[in-house]
Amino acid sequence: MSLLIYAESENGKLKKMAYEVASYASSIASNMNAEVTAVTINAEDVESLGQYGVGKVLNVKNESLKAFNEESYVDVISKAANEVNAEIIVLSQSANAKYLAPALSVELEAGYASNVVALPETENGFQVKRNVFTNKAFGMADITTDKKIIGLSNNAFGLHENSKTPEVVDFSPEIKGSGIEVKSVDKNTDKVSIADAEVVVSAGRGLKGPENWGMIEELADVLGAATACSKPVSDMGWRPHGEHVGQTGKPVASNLYIAIGISGAIQHLAGINASKTKVVINTDEEAPFFKAADYGIVGDAFEVVPQLIEKLKEFKAANA
């Protein structure tokens, strides 16, 4: 029995979700007396995956794979899966992992369950719990094929140490060229993305206009957070679409989600429901968000947020 994870990296650095996927796979493996192999692409410090139970690393170094490309990456990962006869393949739910997993499932003739939030239950088939209806419900999905692909929701399982010293093997499969060319990448490298963020600071119409976002960005800065917004705000062009979170925007599964001047439409609440701790700041105590939040302040964002920034700075200085 063999498991493969795709351990994602960016600019050589393994992502937190790579360690989370490793933790999840090694939890499955320890119940099945199986080994976890990780495939890495142009990553450094791949031995660190051993801390989370990875026993072997197929280490791919290839200049032509520097930019992410669905076709070539599917090629590499499917060859890695065949190399170790993987029966279970685990990936994250990053934009890139979601992009390549469906093609990988066709290539490997594997059943694929996405948005998975818990370990498989194997008493009756191979059932994984996953989010459905944009976090409004869960479904138990039974994967009936011999090979199985699991897309683990970000931040759903957490990190679990299980220290091993992995065997690192150079892996250089022959890669077919891709017909898709990456022309340019436009990425804000000094800001954390919503998918990677531990903390997300989000604001809505209560801010009254795009010119008032300075304090939101400052608050995000203090917390090392990503900024996000509600649907009306992106539809009005106050903020870019990439910041829209909710049912038709991006899902959020951060540790802390702070909603400022967002009333909490059902579609918004669904999209952010997987976040662990939710804080709402709103003048309207009747706003639906107060029913979904863990902590709330009834108050004017223009008074509360600057205070919060000052107090957080003091807190950070004292706990540095």
Binding site: S114, N188, I266
Partner: protein
Amino acid sequence: MKILVCISHVPDTTSKINFTDNDTAFDKNGVQFVINPNDEFGLTRAMWFKEKQGASVDIVTVGEKDVEPTMRKCLAIGAEKAIRVDAKPVDAFQVAKEIADVAKNGEYDLIIAGRESIDYNGGMVPGMLARLIGAHFINTCVSLEIEGDAATAVREIDGGKETLSCKLPLVIGGQKGLVEEKDLRIPNMRGIMMARKKPLDVKQPVTEVTKVEFKSFSKPAPKGDVKLVDAENIDELINLLHNEAKAI
């Protein structure tokens, strides 16, 4: 250019989600169904290609007869022909297989699907479909231009965007950005009248193979009450976030 738009028939975003048959099936009772929002952005972009570049636009849905009103709405918006594969959708692979058969028979140059449906959120059909028919695939697509047989697309990535180019045939997983919310079209009376006469072909399924099947559903446990903190007492909020929630 021949375009096929894949349409999912989904509960409206404001729907309350409940389950029936011992929590094994979605309860459709009292639920309003709509065109999947991600698909609707794609359909609207397809209308642009029709009007500006003379493309033809067909739509396809895999589903039983109850999906037809949603398909008629797409015809009223401007699609020319609808194809319904008469099968109960069970998993993404089965749906992708059915659409692949429609796509091969119709020799489409461009297939536009939504990045995911807002019901089961699988996000799998477009990528599987592309692989099954040997087309290129671009997911989370927020901009698409076609010149001859060359496509230029912008894809949303974590924390930014990426511009890609490739040759047709191409499958995209689309979302908002392909067109804006304000560009979405509400069918007018003339469109609705014309839609009644447009062909809605019913096709028999070609596969029964499924790989993943839902066994049961559940809803999240109800949440406890919110803890209110006084607006004058921000220290208390920081204390709670640090010591109780362990979130900072």
